[in-house]
Every structure is written in structure tokens, then in C-alpha cells.
Symmetry: C2
DNA sequence: GTCTATACAACGATAGAC
DNA sequence: GTCTATCGTTGTATAGAC
């Protein structure tokens, strides 16, 4: 866990700030053994837990891991996906949602539910239960997921279609989606747990659509 | 924490309203009360976990505890409330829902959400998180809650108003209610977490109402 | 030689200080 | 308003593994 910067020591002529001289790292591929990816993951776990999703910065995480911030992009594709990897989510919600948003806004809910059902049916309930468990157990996990859900959902989905009250709508959408996941995959309440996708979509999508674009008081 | 039958303790100061409750008048010899109650709880935990809500019987639970089956009624008010106590639920869902059902069926959802908000706001998110945690962690807990939710919800709420597909409707209602609980009290997503009751009711009740009495595909 | 992990620099966006 | 600091991200050159 201890993200020990590998501290190669010498060289690095004073480019710019002669102060501190924090991490003179060589360029190029590191000598074998240094697992940058794992170090980034470990550093990200600590930072996300301590400061939340928004509070943690890619730069600090990279510094803690002793590597360049660009490594986050290289290994994970960005802050969002790094977070997904930290929480060990089965899929990257941002990516999934992003490619489901384009299209008729009045049918967005159908596409969202349909896609989520595909993903969840493929991975089963285990990852969902794991996430739920850690969220219920650790306040830090709840905070991380809260900020992440708010940010990603609002930015990538709700803002694309919702006329107003975007944060509230995002929370409501989250409640319906999360509740469906719990009841179908963790609690396994029948007949909802075994219903085919068309049935679930027909039942849930209209309600989700109201949260997205319908009238709110 | 859990809503249990009134503790027929030594100094039960009578509130004026005489309840139809089978309030045990403490006459005669005082049993090793707390002991019986605890033994029943322990026995019920085992039985519910092993056989589920439906599979476990009051008779067997009482036998395992070494007491008369009537003690379940005495100490907990019935199988349902015993189960509630075992899960350490903040309230007895059966009781709460039962007294909210009478009235305009088309406004049932408003009454349900309103009442749940009162209860949850009073107890805070801790009990909810505890239930979620055990449900996510232990398959037995998930099974118990599943059967309980199906049975009680279908029997006491959905059957009272829903025209068809009662089990499916019950599952859908469960998903919305549970999701709301998670997002508002465990994840604490704003502004939903701090929204006043009227706002939440206005936002969620119409969706819940559709699950209860609206058209399903 | 190729391939890839790496560091550095710089860009557009955004939030806060002045 | 402008200025500044900082964020996440991208482009590119380079060093080491193969």
C-alpha cells in the first residue's frame, strides 16, 4: 500500500524551481519490477477514501504513486475509469452511459435500462452485492460513490436531456436504478428477478423516463 | 432499536388510550421474561436463516426456544414482528403499511412515501445501512428479506389496490422504495437527501403509484 | 530493429482571489 | 471584470524491454 516513490536520486539539472527538487525521475520505461499500475491503484484507493471523488486529484494520486499524472490516462483511461477500477465495478458506468445517451431523448430510459440489464445479467449479482456491502459498511465508500454518481450521472446523462432540477433528477434516477439492481440481483425477488428484459424495460423505463424528462413538482 | 412489542416491564405507565393490543397484564408470577424473549430471538434467527421466512414456523421456533408458541405472540405480537425484530428493522413494515392502506387507492403511494419518510427520518440511516449490509453479505439474510417483502407487501398492500400482476408490482414497488432509502439515507445524494417530505412525495409518489395501480405492459 | 512504458510540456476549462 | 492557480487531459519525445 505504501506508495513509496522510487526516488532515483541524482541528476535532473535544475529545470525551473530549484526548490525541493521533489522527484527527479528518469524518462522511458522503468526497469523491471516496478508495477506502476498497481501503485496507482493503491494510491488512488487511499486518496479517494480520504478526500472523496472530487477531492482527490489525479496529480496527487500520481505523485503518491511516484509516477507522472499522464500514467493515469495511460493505464486507466482517465480519472473516472481509475475510480471504477478502485471500486472494482464490473463496468465503467461513464462509458456505458455515454454511448447510450445519443438518440431520442424520450426513449433514453429504455436504452439505459436495457443496457444495464445486459451488463448486470452478464456479471451476475456478486459484484453488485460487493459494492453494496462496502457502501453500507464504510462511510468513505458511500461518499466516494455518492460524489461519483452525482457527478457522472449529472454530467453525462441528465444534463443531456433534463430541462431543470438536474441534481434532483439524478438522485431520483439513481434511486430507481439502484433499487432495481438490489431487488433483482441481490434480493432476487420473483418474478422480477427472472423477468425478461422486455418486461422489465416496459415496467421500469416509463418511471425512469419521468425522472429524466417528466414533470416534477 | 427494533420496533418490538411493548415491553411489559414492571412499571408500564398506562397511557390513556387503551389499545386493542393484547397487552399482557402483569399478573401473577413474573416469568424470566427477558430470557424467554432473548431465547425466542435466538431461535428465530436460526430458523429464519435456515428455512427462510415461509419455511420457518412459529411452532418450531418456540420449541427450539423451549417455550410455548403463544410466547411469540406475547413478546413480539406475531410472526411478522418477530421477523422484524430478528432483522433489527427500525420499524415493523407490516404494521406501518397496514394502517396506511385505508383511504383513496389512487393516493396510496403518497401515504406510503410520506409515512416511510417520517419513520426513516426519525431513525436515521444507520439501521438501514445495517440491514443493507447484512443483506448484501449473507445470502440467508437476502432470502429472508425477499420472502418477507414478497409476502407482506403482496398481502397487505398490493392486493388491496392492484388489479393484476401483483407479485411483479410488489417487486417494482420494493425496488423504488428500497432505492429511495439507499440514495437518501445511505448514499446521501444531494439534494434528495435534504429535500423536504413534500418534495420527495411529489417526485416519487406518482412513480410508485404507477407500480401499484397503473398500466404495466 | 519494434514496441511500449515513461516523463515532460502544454492546452482548455474552471474556480477563486483580487 | 481580470488574473491566477489548479484541475484533467493530450501530444510527443525518449529510454528501456523485447
Amino acid at each position: 500500500m505504501a506508495a513509496t516513490a522510487d526516488d532515483p536520486g541524482p541528476s535532473r539539472a535544475g529545470t525551473g524551481t530549484a526548490q525541493g527538487d521533489p522527484a527527479p525521475r528518469r524518462r522511458g520505461r522503468r526497469p523491471g519490477g516496478a508495477d506502476t499500475r498497481a501503485q496507482l491503484l493503491a494510491a488512488a484507493r487511499v486518496e479517494f477514501a480520504e478526500r472523496g471523488y472530487d477531492g482527490a486529484t489525479v496529480r496527487v494520486i500520481a505523485e503518491r504513486a511516484g509516477v507522472d499524472p499522464a500514467m493515469v490516462n495511460h493505464w486507466f483511461g482517465g480519472k473516472e475509469s481509475l475510480f471504477t477500477a478502485v471500486l472494482d465495478l464490473p463496468v465503467d458506468p461513464g462509458a456505458v452511459l455515454a454511448d447510450v445517451v445519443p438518440g431520442d431523448p424520450e426513449r433514453l430510459a429504455e436504452r439505459i435500462i436495457g443496457r444495464l440489464l445486459e451488463v448486470w445479467d452478464a456479471t451476475g449479482g456478486a459484484p453488485l452485492a460487493a459494492v453494496l456491502q462496502s457502501v453500507a459498511a464504510h462511510d468513505a465508500a458511500a461518499r466516494m460513490l455518492r460524489e461519483f454518481v452525482s457527478r457522472v450521472l449529472v454530467a453525462k446523462v441528465v444534463s443531456a436531456v433534463a430541462p431543470d432540477q438536474r441534481e434532483l433528477r439524478a438522485g431520483l434516477c439513481g434511486s430507481q436504478v439502484l433499487g432495481l439492481a438490489v431487488v433483482r440481483y441481490v434480493l432476487k425477488v420473483e418474478p422480477l428477478a427472472s423477468a425478461d428484459h422486455a418486461t422489465v424495460i416496459g415496467a421500469v423505463a416509463p418511471n425512469l423516463q419521468r425522472y429524466l424528462t417528466g414533470p416534477l413538482p
